[in-house]
Symmetry: C2
C-alpha cells in the first residue's frame, strides 16, 4: 500500500540537497519567502518546531536560575560603537532607523543584531556591589542582521533566538556558566532534535566580535558542509571595561564583572530539516514533531465505523501519552484534507515527516487485519497491534525512532570525519567528499586564512573532548598542539 | 509584627496614583526606563507576568484552533499605504528603516506597528479556494508605535503583544471569531488578572483604522480614568478588497474573505499594577503571581532548624500544588536577601505583592506557635495551621484572594459608574469624581468630539450586555438608542 502513493512532486534530496531543502520547506508549509528582501515568514507548521525548541530549552534555562526579561529592539548607535571589535562585527549588517514619529532622529537607532550593549548598560545601573551578582538574564526575541539573499531558516535578515547574558564576580564562575550553556545546547540538539555534533572552542579569527573565547556546537550536513548550531561566549571583562562597569568587591576593591553570552536561533530548524529528511520529504524527530501520528482513513464505505475506530485509537493514545512526545494525533478524515485521495494523504504525511501513520479501513474495523503502525523512518519496521496496546506500541516506536535518528546522524558524522596529516590529502578531501577534517594546526591566523582561501574550509573548532596531541601544522609545518576541525561552512 | 516593618520608602498610592505607579514599578523591579527614548526594559519580575499571561491566553487560542506563526518585523511602506484609513492611523507613529547593510534602501521599511498588511499579502498567496479557509493564525511579537514620552507599560514606543488574524468565507463565522476573541480577553482579565471590565463595541470615531467594527474590554482605574484592555476588530471585507484578495467560492463565484484581527499587549500589566496595589506596594492576583508564597525566617538563633522547617513547608506545598497557582515558593533565608533585616524582608514581600507570607521563628520550630499565613490582601485574615495542613490552607487562601480581588475591582467599578441624564451632570462628574459615565448619545461624531473637547471624556464603548433603551442625546438632545460609556482615557 505504502508503495503506491501519488506523490507530491518534490525534488530529490539525493540529487540536489539545496533545491530539495527549499522545495520541502515550501511544500510542507514550514516557511515562505516574505515580500521584504532577505526576510522569511515562519508558517504554523514551522513555528511549532520553534515553540518546541523554546519549551525544551526554556526549562533548562530556568532550572539553572536564569530568568527571562525583555530589552528594547532599538540600540543607540553610540552604544554599539563602545566595543571596537563588536561594532566592526555588526555595523556592516545593521538595519538603521533614521525616522521616528515623522521626524528625522537626532541619533540613529540600530535594530538589535544582538543585545550585549543595551543590556550591559542596564546591568551597570542595576548593580552596586558583588552582592548584586551574579546577574542571570535571558531573552527570547527577534534580531536583525542584514542579508541580501534569503536562505530559508539558515540565512535571513531577521531571525528569532534566545540570548543569555550573565555576569559574575569571578572568572571561574563565568567559565562554568559558559560551559553550562554549551552543554544545554548540546542536550537540546542531541536529545530533542536528534542532531549529533561536536562541542568545541573557536579559533581567534572565528570567535564572536568582542569575546575572549567562543564555544560552539558544530554539526555536519548531508552535503559535507558544517552548520554552526549555537555559540556560547566567554566575554571576560571586555565589555565591563569598555562600559566602565564596576561594582564594589567583597574586600572593598573595584571589580569589573566577568560576563558571558550565549544564543541559539531559528537556524537550528534549518539543520533539523536538512539532516533528517529524505527523497520523500521531511522527517521529524518524535520529541519535536508537531504531529506525532496521523490516522489516515480509507474512505468510501463504512466511514462512520472507520472514523469511530480512529477516534478510539486517538483517545487511547492521548489518555496515556508521556510528556516526552507532546505532538498531536490527527485524524485526516474530515474537512479539506478528506477531499484528497487516500494516497495523497499518505504522501502528505511523509512529506510533513510525521513519525508514525496508521492507515485504517474496513478490514481493521472488522478485526480481520490488526492495526498497522507505519514509521516514517522505514528501517525500524512496521508494527501490528490491537487497540488496547496501541498507546504502548506507539510510545516504544517513538522512543526507538528518536534514538535511531540521533545514531544515524552520529554514524554519518563519524563516517565523514577525516583525520588528515598532509595538506595534499586535505585538499583532496575538500575537493571530493568534503566533511569534517581533523588536522593539526599551529593556531596561526595566517595559515587559517590561507587554508580558507585555497580550500574554502574554515576552522570550525577544537573539540573539547580531545586531548592534546602533538603534530605538525598541516599548512606551515610548525609545531601544533591539537587537531582542529576544518570544514566548509554554511 | 507586621506593623513594625522598616518600610522601603514608596510614594503613597492614596496621595498620587501616577507617581506611586512609576515608583512601585521601579522599586519592585518590574521594569525600568531604557536608554532609548520612549522605550522600556521589562525586568524578570515584570516579564514573569507577561509569561503568565502568554501561557494562559495561548492555551485559549490553541483550543480555538488558531495556530501561532511569525511574520517579518519590517513592512514595505507601500503595503501600509494600501488601506487608506490604516495608513492614516499608523504612519504618524512609524519608526522607519532607511539604511540596511550599509546602503540607503530603495524602499523604506516600516517597523511593524501591527501586521495586517504583511500578513494578508501572504494569506492571499496561500489561498485559492473556499476550502483553504478559514485561515486561523496568531503571532506573539514586538511592535513599534513611536512615543516621545514613556509611561511604563502603558505607553511605550515598543511593546509586546499577540495579534490574531483570521479569515473566513462568510460574515457570520467572522463575527463569531471576533466575539470569541473578545470573550477570551474577558476571561483572561477576569479569571487570571482579577480585573473587572466592560465588554463593548467602539464608536465609529474610536474604532481601529481599517475596521468595520471594533470590540473592546474597558477597565476603570483607581483615578477614575478608563484603560482599554484589548480590542477585537471585525475587518469585514475591507482589507481583502484593498489587497484584491479573492478565492474561488463554493459555487464558483469570486469571494472576498471576511477578516478579523485582535490583540492584547503588555499594557495589560499596567492595568494589573494600577488597580490592585496599595500604599504598601503591588498586589499580585494569586493565579499570575510569579511568587505565591514567601517564607521569611527570623534569623539569629536555631537557624538550621528554622530553615529545615521552611524547606519542609515548601516541599509540602510543591508536592500538592494545583496548576492554578504556578507561582514559586521562596525561602528568603540565604544569599543576598538574608543579609537584610527580617523587617526589610517582610516589607519587600509586600512591595512585590506576594499573595502570602509566612514568618518563621523559634516558636514555630518549637511548636508553641502554629504556622501563621499572612495574606497580602489583609481583609481575608491570617490563618494558622500545622505543616500537614499548610498546602490545603494555602490553596484555599489563594482561591479566596483571587476571587476577592476581582470582586473588589468589580465593586469599585460599579460604585464609580454614573448613569447621567443631563450634560450638566455629565460635566460635574467629569470635573469632580470621574469614573465611567453611562449616558445616551445619538451616535453623531460631532457630539462625541464636542464632549471630548469640553470634558476630556471620550466614548469608550456601548456595553454588549445592555439592551436598547431610548433616550435623548446628552449633548444635542436628539433621539438616542443606547447608553454609551464615556470616560477620560489613558
Amino acid at each position: 500500500m505504502a508503495d503506491n502513493f501519488e506523490k507530491k512532486e518534490i525534488i530529490k534530496k539525493s540529487q540536489n540537497l539545496s533545491d530539495w531543502y527549499t522545495d520541502v520547506i515550501l511544500k510542507a508549509k514550514l516557511a515562505d519567502y516574505a515580500p521584504v528582501k532577505g526576510c522569511m515568514v515562519i508558517r504554523p507548521y514551522g513555528y511549532a518546531l520553534w515553540e518546541g525548541i523554546q519549551k525544551y530549552l526554556d526549562v533548562l534555562i530556568k532550572e539553572r536560575g536564569v530568568e527571562n526579561a525583555y530589552f528594547p529592539l532599538f540600540i543607540p548607535e553610540k552604544f554599539l560603537q563602545k566595543e571596537k571589535e563588536h561594532v566592526k562585527g555588526f555595523a556592516p549588517e545593521a538595519a538603521v532607523v533614521t525616522i521616528g514619529g515623522g521626524e528625522e532622529l537626532a541619533e540613529k537607532l540600530i535594530v538589535r543584531p544582538t543585545s550585549e550593549t543595551i543590556m550591559y548598560e542596564m546591568y551597570k545601573q542595576w548593580t552596586q556591589s558583588w552582592r548584586d551578582l551574579p546577574v542571570l538574564i535571558n531573552q527570547w526575541c527577534n534580531v536583525v542582521r542584514w542579508e541580501k539573499r534569503t536562505y530559508l531558516f539558515l540565512r535571513t535578515s531577521e531571525f528569532l533566538w534566545q540570548e543569555g547574558h550573565c555576569a559574575h564576580t569571578n572568572s571561574e564562575e563565568n567559565t562554568e556558566m559558559v560551559l553550562w550553556a554549551l552543554g544545554a545546547y548540546q542536550k537540546t540538539y542531541q536529545d530533542l532534535l536528534a542532531l549529533y555534533g561536536i562541542s568545541g572552542v573557536k579559533s581567534e579569527a572565528e570567535k564572536f566580535a568582542g569575546a575572549s573565547k567562543t564555544y560552539t556546537y558544530e554539526m555536519l550536513m548531508p552535503d559535507g558542509k558544517a552548520l554552526q548550531g549555537a555559540t556560547s561566549h566567554d566575554l571576560g571583562q571586555n565589555f565591563a571595561k569598555v562600559f566602565d562597569w564596576t561594582v564594589l568587591g567583597e574586600n572593598g576593591e573595584k571589580l569589573y564583572p566577568w560576563q558571558n553570552s550565549w544564543g541559539l536561533s531559528t537556524r537550528s530548524i534549518g539543520g533539523l530539516i536538512m539532516v533528517h529528511g529524505d527523497d520523500d520529504g521531511l522527517m521529524m524527530p518524535p520529541k519535536i514533531a508537531p504531529i506525532k501520528l496521523v490516522i489516515n482513513p480509507i474512505l468510501g464505505g463504512q466511514e462512520a465505523e472507520i472514523i469511530a475506530l480512529a477516534q478510539e485509537i486517538k483517545r487511547e493514545i492521548e489518555a496515556k501519552q508521556s510528556s516526552d512526545y507532546p505532538g498531536k494525533v490527527e485524524i485526516w478524515g474530515s474537512g479539506a484534507i478528506a477531499e484528497k485521495t487516500f494516497g495523497w494523504r499518505m504522501s502528505e504525511a511523509e512529506l510533513k515527516g510525521v513519525p508514525l501513520t496508521i492507515a485504517l479501513g474496513k478490514k481493521e474495523v472488522a478485526g480481520t487485519t490488526p492495526i498497522t503502525i507505519i514509521p516514517r523512518l522505514k528501517e525500524i519496521g512496521r508494527q501490528e497491534t490491537g487497540v488496547e496496546m496501541v498507546s504502548k506500541i506507539i510510545e516504544q516506536m517513538l522512543t526507538k525512532i528518536q534514538k535511531q535518528m540521533l545514531e544515524k546522524h552520529k554514524a554519518f558524522t563519524e563516517a565523514n570525519t577525516h583525520e588528515v596529516d598532509s595538506y595534499k590529502e586535505f585538499r583532496e578531501v575538500m575537493e571530493n567528499k568534503r566533511g569534517f577534517i581533523k588536522a593539526h594546526w599551529c593556531e596561526n591566523a595566517l595559515c587559517e586564512r590561507k587554508i580558507k582561501e585555497e580550500t574554502k574550509a574554515t576552522c570550525r573548532c577544537r573539540p573539547l573532548n580531545d586531548r592534546e596531541s602533538e603534530g605538525r601544522c598541516i599548512y606551515c609545518g610548525q609545531k601544533a598542539q591539537y587537531r582542529w576541525i576544518f570544514a566548509q561552512a554554511y
